[in-house]
Symmetry: C2
Subunit: 353 residues, 2 copies
Amino acid sequence: MEYRKIKDEDKQEDGEDDIENLRGKALSVGVPLINAGSLGGVGDRAQWKRKSVVTLALTVLTSSQAILIVWSKRAGKYDYSVTTANFMVETLKCLLSLAALSRIWRNEGVTDDNRLSTTFDEVIVYPVPAALYLVKNLLQYYIFAYVDAPGYQILKNFNIISTGVLYRIILKRKLSEIQWAAFILLCAGCTTAQLNSSSDRVLQTPLQGWIMAIVMALLSGFAGVYTEAIMKKRFSRNINVQNFWLYVFGMIFNAVAIVIQDFDAVVNKGFFHGYSFITVLMIVNHALSGIAVSMVMKYADNIVKVYSTSVAMLLTAIVSMFLFGFHLSLAFFLGSTVVSVSVYLHSIGKLQR
Amino acid sequence: MEYRKIKDEDKQEDGEDDIENLRGKALSVGVPLINAGSLGGVGDRAQWKRKSVVTLALTVLTSSQAILIVWSKRAGKYDYSVTTANFMVETLKCLLSLAALSRIWRNEGVTDDNRLSTTFDEVIVYPVPAALYLVKNLLQYYIFAYVDAPGYQILKNFNIISTGVLYRIILKRKLSEIQWAAFILLCAGCTTAQLNSSSDRVLQTPLQGWIMAIVMALLSGFAGVYTEAIMKKRFSRNINVQNFWLYVFGMIFNAVAIVIQDFDAVVNKGFFHGYSFITVLMIVNHALSGIAVSMVMKYADNIVKVYSTSVAMLLTAIVSMFLFGFHLSLAFFLGSTVVSVSVYLHSIGKLQR
């Protein structure tokens, strides 16, 4: 695959740039013409506003996602099959993209940028993120042989580091020294906030468990970075068209997952077996969050996404304290402090670059 | 008391500066003529070397102090009275200062800067730190009515913040934004490293406990900042003379503490009751650490002292792991990571100021 170098936000020039070969096929990633950092002209301001809105939306949706999960656990166990729910999420995202597109077609007419039809060159990149997530989700079943669920939650914080490293290596975007320090702090702070009395068990994870956790973090980080590359490559392309193609392949890969994992359950009990009002709410929420992620990838970047979801994790805990009477630990307070300082350092690190 | 403004290291000019009234008596703090930050000329290099050596000495001595405490606890309980041990520490420091002075007198003769005799104006400031520590140590007996010993260890991390704030307010030295962020991280990181399964109990501390912890942190921070002001006020004065007077008052105030707290024990069992080889080792170590603290105050500053003792705490845990087979927790690992990033940020924050 062939990437165009995505340049640093502060060094943007118009149009074409030097081309870097990464794997020798045709994914040419266009220069993202958004200046996310500065606040200069009117266009910059509009871009900054859009970036802020999508980031806020992602944070709120991610928080409410986690709260719905807590709520559903409290309400009792649901035995719907997760793969069918994931399939429904992709289908709903696809339908929402189509709905948005049909409104755009009605208002603006069909143009080169918003037509659904596509070339092989354009469409070939869209299955990649969905395929990566499928592999990651399948691995998830095997990692539990080596580590328990709370331990896995802690190991998942490797995602933060892997995203930062792959963002640097693949998208060739630079983070300042302070921003790297902030990123390490974000990882340490999130992990600290999740500490509880049984967390130390994760240190006894066997080597296979560590390797799988790192591989899963790399898969997930690579999928995120690859999605950003896709969204920004043809920046003028309407985001709903890009989403449509992403989600179509999401549907296909999740259909495969249903066959692999839940075929018997679906045949015997039916596709929507075990669905309840809260399941539907969770599907709607996941779909909206997914669209927010796409928008953050297009109008902001993976770093913003990581910060957004990390802050959402903290918000979730605080909201859960009020809603469900959760007890906030000293570790949570310390971790939140470190994450807050990290957010602050990331923002001043940008200015000082 | 009357302070001269101690100026930022990077803005040093020679000699006199504007005078600020703080409390309306006569402690005029001279401008510290050491450029601790830069590495320019030969003099700067020598100063930087001296600063590094005293900082390293403090770190090593503080670590070994904590290890001696662990060792003494493992070896069984000692029932010597702590106040007599403190008195012996002050006495030993006093004797060591005199020994150093007598060598200097033999080599260089008695000058204005190394003579022991002093004026009322000079000597009046020396009892202040010792008095503050006495009050703090007496309060320590009362705080245990509200919080247990591990909880008190956690609350002691307020010292880090109080030292930073008082350093800024009283010595009028500026820390950059990044250095403030680093300081908050140092406090959060040290606390995280000390977390264990019972740490959350500290959150149930009643209001009186919090207030006492904050008052104690302010007393200890003020004593540190005041000592730095004394040491730097008459910078040309030989440090051993300054130490001699500091420690003489330390002896006097600790004698008062013996009378208040351990009078009966000393009368009935004798002054050196319960002393052992390890007690003597601890007294020697405390005395050397005390002298290292004085040197850090004179040739570096309170911020360096706080970093030095914090890093020492982490070193202690790592050494204890090898010596005593201590188990390092995930919280310790995360806290150490945050402290390391804090040290890094403090150093780059200095450059970017």
